[in-house]
Amino acid sequence: MTKDPVTREELHEEQPPQAAVPEQEPRGAARARVLLRQVLLPASAIVLSLVVGAVIMIASSPLVRGDIDLSLPLTAYWALLNGSLGSFNAIVSTLVQATPLILAGLAVGIGFKAGLFNIGAQGQFLMGALAAATMGVATADLPPLIAIPVALAAGMAAGLAYGFIPGFLKAYTGAHEVVTTIMLNYVAIQLVAYVISGPLRGANVTFARTEAITSAALPVIAGRDGHIGLLFAAVAVPIMAWMLFRSTLGFEIRTVGANPDAARYAGMHPRLLIILALSLGGLLAGLAGATEILGQVRHMPAAYATAVGFDAIAVALLGRAHPVGILFAGLLFGAMRAGAGLMQIQAGIPVQMVNVLQAVILFFLAADLIVRAIFRLRAAGVGVDEMQTITRSYGEQTAK
């Protein structure tokens, strides 16, 4: 009898597979059910995080109010809701906050699809902002029709370059992008500080910042703050979705993320695809930074602080790395950021609570077992796959 041993194939090998294989391609109503299950997990995680947030608020209410205040969470969440959706301006505010999150979330998301963890969205965002601010100041005398595209292009180019670096390092040296991008984030902060305290420092400013950006400022199209950048996010989502799931390039990127060896055998170039994914991510994050500066702030301080980097990761994970999911997750976090200010004013809850809520949401996503147990969701393949693929490459060299 000639056979090879090795793996421990299980018994149902020869039995009809119907018993063991779950239905993966349902039609019609069944498909809706699967979709529902896919949404239920993140939704449950969000609910649970609000509960945990409430507990933290109650526990710390003596610090906030001087006394245990059981209604503090309600005040806080109500303010959060009001500040984000309670008025036309609030909604515009939400959209404005969501825009960079969606763009940066897409940046992180495309990294995930390629099997990479692009934590560098923060640094790419900053570089994009810096470049846009630089061009914004430089084009003060040019008409907006020229100034705006130039500044935006500069932002995208800077972001792309800053995403290219870790991509290149990962592809050709195996340096894990998690640590290199985090390091580059910190380098970006120093670079921004240096440039704006020095060469780019405004003439008559009280603290270190650039001149005001005039010509290149993005026009407002809605409410008080709703600048044209909102459209960028709205357009980027369907483009990315189409690219990932309908185009050949998107197929290649996803294959590299799923199995770099098979990708190589299929004739793809994992190295180039990795570089592309991170560069494209950098471009998107750079665009996010550029729209923030040109649309929202309209100048750039040397000590520019932003939470977009962290938020973008949470958005990408919550959105399961799918552009549409990222859209919704971005809107959710945009709402939270928009309402946080009011929450701080009305309930006295510091805005960092949003970070806490984010982390707890991610925790429940990662520990999906708990969520399922609590809400009695059945397992049936609704795992969070991108959560299991990143560490794979930590200790290994990339496929050549």
Binding site: V6, T7, R8, E9, E10, L11, H12, A20, I56, S60, L63, V64, F117, I119, L169, T173, G174, A175, H176, V178, V179, T180, I182, M183, L184, N185, Y186, V187, Q190, L191, A193, Y194, S197, F310, I313, A314, P350, Q352, M353, V354, N355, V356, L357, Q358, A359, V360, L362, F363, A366, A367, E386, M387, Q388, T389, I390, T391, R392, Y394, G395, Q397
Partner: protein, 371 residues
């Protein structure tokens, strides 16, 4: 000698090296002070990665410990006005602050352990969650607490080694600098030596290495892989706790939001550069933080001539950026990652546990059959 310095480039290099050697005794304390939290963070990473668990949440653990140390010490100081400080300027407040920091870091490590080992979630994501949460909760509490401007509980003081030590030729200044530290700093030195010996000569070290390289093999000789990983990860939290406490009750005495500033990640790079050994990581930490010391030296007494002018004109932000840049260079291949513990990052499925789908076979060592 000055003539040599005039040779372009190489002359500068030589002058620079000579300068550093001259200045070293003066800046050694600065460097050691900056390196301590990084080396401690690296020890935390060491406990994790040698057992096969990736931990990029060291940053978050440090930050949490830093805040807890400071705040607990401050609270305790208010509740129990201290008497005479003991050795190292220790008061009940500081002691309790330290212990609280360790406990906090161990609890956070427990979460990481649970997510990584039991839930088998992606370990990098687990670390990221910890980082985000730490920034959130410490920022949140810090803002609330600061409204009432609580007083600082002070900080540990340094031990003053006997004068004789500094007089030892060649290395006297080094010994003096290493030993002129507070309890945590001295604790680091002890820990580095002890852990180095333990890694290669103790039963714990052997089993840990086995689990980090080939957990299935360890399991089949009766070692409880899961328990060992849990223990090591939680104990690693002690080091992260010490690192954080160092920042707020030994090196400094106050807390600012996000004050760890990336040290947790530099610690990881130090671990990799140091080839996953405590001694190596310590050396790497010193190397990485050397730039801070050099910056200070240049500020107060730059080298002569063109080199001095050049160094003085380098913006401070560049010096601050050096550790991060060095980290990237290290990772980019100065030290290959092929030396990492072989099983690091791969969740371990204990065969005993009921599997969800029967067709998941236990992960065999593919290396074995290929000789």
């Amino acid at each position: 000698m000055e003539v040599v310095y005039d040779i372009p480039l190489i002359g500068w290099l030589i002058q620079f090296v000579v300068y550093v050697i001259e200045v070293m005794p003066i800046i050694a304390p600065t460097i050691i002070g900056a390196a301590t939290p990084i080396a401690l963070g690296a020890l935390c990473g060491f406990m994790n990665e040698r057992s096969g668990v990736v931990n990029i949440g060291i940053e978050g653990m440090m930050l949490t410990a830093a805040f807890v140390a400071w705040w607990t010490a401050s609270l305790t100081a208010q509740l129990l006005p201290g008497g005479e400080p003991w050795l190292f300027g220790m008061t009940p407040a500081l002691l309790i602050g330290l212990v609280a920091a360790l406990v906090a870091a161990m609890l956070v490590s427990l979460v990481h352990a649970w997510l990584s080992i039991t839930v088998r979630a992606d370990q990098i994501i687990s670390g990221t969650i910890i980082n985000i949460f730490a920034v959130g909760i410490t920022g949140y509490l810090n803002l609330l607490v600061s409204r009432s401007a609580p007083p600082s509980a002070g900080q540990f003081t340094r031990w003053n080694p006997p004068e004789v030590l500094a007089d030892i030729p060649v290395i006297g200044w080094l010994l003096d600098a290493l030993l002129s530290q507070g309890p945590i700093g001295l604790g680091l030195l002890v820990a580095v030596i002890v852990m180095q010996v333990m890694l290669f000569r103790s039963r714990w070290g052997l089993r840990t290495r086995a689990v980090g390289e080939h957990p299935e093999a360890a399991e089949t000789v009766g070692i409880d892989v899961v328990a060992l990983r849990y223990r090591n990860v939680i104990l690693g939290g002690v080091f992260a706790g010490l690192a954080g406490a160092y920042l707020t009750i030994e090196f400094g005495n106050s807390f600012q939001g996000e004050m760890t500033n990336g040290r947790g990640f530099i610690a990881l790079a130090a671990l990799i550069f140091g080839r996953w050994t405590p001694l190596g990581a310590f050396g790497a930490a010193i190397l990485f933080t050397a730039s801070e010391g050099i910056q200070r030296a240049v500020r107060f007494g730059p080298p002569e001539g063109a080199l001095g002018d050049f160094l003085a004109s380098v913006p401070p932000q560049f010096y601050s950026a050096v550790p991060y840049l060095v980290t990237i260079i290290i990772l980019a291949g100065v030290v290959g990652r092929s030396l990492a513990p072989a099983a690091v990052g791969k969740p371990y499925t204990r065969e005993k546990r009921e599997r969800r789908r029967p067709e998941e076979p236990a992960e065999p060592a593919t290396a074995a059959t290929e000789g």
